[in-house]
Amino acid sequence: MLEIKNLQVDLEEEEKTILKGVDLTIGEGEVHAIMGPNGSGKSTTSYVLSGKDGYEVTGGSATLYGEDLLEMEPEERAAAGLFLAFQYPVEIPGVGNMTFLRTAVNAQRKARGEEELSAGDFLKLVREKAKALKIDADMLKRPVNVGFSGGEKKRNEILQMAMLEPKMCVLDETDSGLDVDAMKLVAEGVNALRDGKRSFLVITHYQRLLDHIKPDVVHIMADGKIVKSGGPELALEVENNGYADILAEVA
């Protein structure tokens, strides 16, 4: 399980506090959603968890199944079971998607002291998972995300998630830039990974993604803190009334 306690984070480049004491506990197999207005610190939370440069943790802690995430390099966090689906997946010319996937899978296995997957086993696995996400052979051969449409990029994120089999998946605005059909496909990919053990943190602006990926708990984040938590009905409330009422209520 993921435990975030009183997490406080500044931007490294400028004196600006982004997270002002985030508390969040996601149990095994649970799906939590974070919603909140722009600039509330949702994406920053995902970056700090995964170890992106440019942020300074000034207080608090974040652990995954007891392991201190904040002390680890990004690759160690990944090997420990954390996965971030990017809001804007990076295009990498010259690196084949398949090569990338295989290198990542085997790097994690190696880091965990497991045997690397053979080329044949890997190929079998990736084909099977890609098929479910309607990712064709061509997309696997092409350089990572290069020339992919918005929907293809997000599906490719979910494919990576499916291949890496993380314990804790963080989805950063995975619905942004997706049409309804693409969102459904992505949501199906995520739901297929729900196995009662794997946990999810879904960051989104809109309730509609949560129609497809049903959360156990919804949190509202504002000004670097989680200001309200509740059931799925909280997302509906946001959808109908916006954030103003909730923010006024907790202020």
Binding site: S50, G51, K52, D53, E73, P74, E75, R77, A78, A79, F83, L84, F86, P89, V90, I92, P93, G94, V95, T99, F100, T103, A104, V105, A107, Q108, A111, P143, Q160, L164
Partner: protein, 429 residues
């Protein structure tokens, strides 16, 4: 009043350092003429415009500085492919280590054998393309080579040559100072692959003159040897006939000084020329210079220049690339890209792209960039569990791969990519 000339003195000193060329029969006049031309132009000097970024003094010093021998533990380049193997040791042809100089659709002789004949077809070519290539930019070290070299191959391709001619240049003496001169004639519709590998000598000066007739094809892949202390200057002069193809690629890792000059003249319509290079340098002792001059003098020709350099720890990369489009060379498609990837803040990439266009219906583009590895990309890879150093290597290889892709033969390209990968792995801490 006599004009004091350091250049002239250096030229004389250089000329005196090599045996006077005699007994070359049909080539005597060409070689004497080369001596006279060299005296007139003088040795290169760092005040020369085209030596501004690369100090030629190590290439003109007499005697040449020694270079320690390097124990290369990699398997020899190109050894996995079916090829005609030719070995030069310190610039001297070694028949014992070489295959028979014979093949289907090709006649191969050593330059010294050719020199001993009373007449030879190479008379029209030897030194001729080099002479043409002196205008408008002088390349005195090529002229010196024409004047004094008696080692090299004279190759006449009369049809499709199935086995690549693969030259291996072995560096065996610490004080070797080698001149090698190859003359290659590709007849109409003929096609040949010419491979070169190895450091050659402590100091190595090579000239390749290649004349490609209509519909001919010439494919060249070269690796320059990992010897740290070697000094190398190469010259490739190519003339392309109608619908002919010229492709040349060079990989360079290590080497204290490398200057690769490529001079191409597209003289027949619809011809294609590609020159590419991937180089990797580590340390202040690495200086690598690609200087390319492509002249479009025919209609509807295409030329590509693709150069990528990875530099770290004070290494220097230089690119000087020019496309000259003459007034009658309409429908020219000229492309040029040079990129430096800096793995730290200490290295240098110096680029001088030039376009000179006199025709009015052409498409020419050039780009030159220098940058570091993108942090967001690196984070993306590490966030998937790939260790940082491995992720960095993947990105470096991807960067170089865009130049290596210019090699047509996939097996050769894969081999080059493997060598680059190995270079990277050796440098992992």
């Amino acid at each position: 009043m006599a004009v004091p000339s350091i250049k002239l003195d250096t030229a004389e000193t250089l000329i005196a350092a090599y045996p006077t060329p005699t007994g070359a029969k049909w080539a005597d006049a060409t070689r004497k003429n080369a001596l006279a031309r060299l005296r007139e132009m003088g040795a290169p000097n760092k005040r020369d415009e085209y030596w501004k970024y690369t100090d030629p003094s190590a290439l003109t010093a007499v005697p040449a500085a020694t270079a320690a021998l390097f124990e290369n533990d990699e398997r020899p380049m190109f050894d996995a492919i079916d090829r005609l193997r030719v070995v030069f040791v310190d610039g001297v042809y070694d028949p014992a280590q070489s295959d028979d100089l014979s093949g289907e659709n090709v006649v191969i002789e050593t330059l010294s054998d050719a020199f001993s004949k009373d007449i030879h077809w190479a008379k029209d070519l030897f030194g001729a393309l080099e002479t043409d290539g002196q205008n408008p930019v002088q390349r005195p070290l090529a002229t010196l080579n024409t004047a004094v070299a008696d080692q090299g191959l004279v190759i006449h391709a009369t049809g499709k040559v199935n086995r690549p001619i693969a030259i291996r240049y072995v560096h065996s003496s610490q004080s070797s100072d080698a001149m090698v001169h190859h003359v290659i004639k590709v007849e109409e519709g003929a096609d040949i692959t010419f491979l070169e590998s190895g450091p050659g000598a402590a100091r190595f000066n090579s000239v390749v003159e290649v004349d490609i007739a209509d519909n001919g094809g010439f494919h060249h892949v070269r690796t320059q040897g990992r010897d740290h202390e070697r000094k190398t200057v190469t010259h490739m002069f190519a003339r392309l006939g109608r619908e002919s193809t010229f492709k040349s690629f060079t990989m360079t890792v290590n080497g204290v000084l490398t200057r690769n000059d490529t001079v191409i003249e597209l003289t027949g319509d619809d011809a294609h020329a590609t020159v590419g290079g991937a180089s990797a340098g580590d340390g202040k002792g690495f200086h690598h210079d690609d200087t390319v001059f492509i002249t479009h003098d025919a209609v509807n020709c295409e030329s590509r220049q693709v150069f990528k350099k990875v530099l770290r720890n004070g290494a220097t990369g230089v690119f000087q690339g020019k496309i000259l489009v003459k007034a009658d060379a309409q429908k020219t498609d000229g492309y040029q890209i040079s990129q430096g990837l800096m793995l730290d803040d200490d290295s240098n990439f110096l680029a001088k792209p030039e376009l000179e266009i006199y025709a009015d219906d052409v498409a020419c583009s050039h780009g030159s960039t220098v940058g570091a590895i993108d942090d967001d990309t690196l984070f993306y890879l590490t966030s998937r569990g790939i260790p940082r150093s491995q992720a960095q290597d993947m990105l470096v290889l991807a960067f170089l791969g865009e130049a290596i892709e210019e090699i047509e033969d996939e097996a050769l390209a894969a081999d080059i990519l493997d060598r680059m990968d190995a270079w990277m792995k050796r440098r992992q801490g």
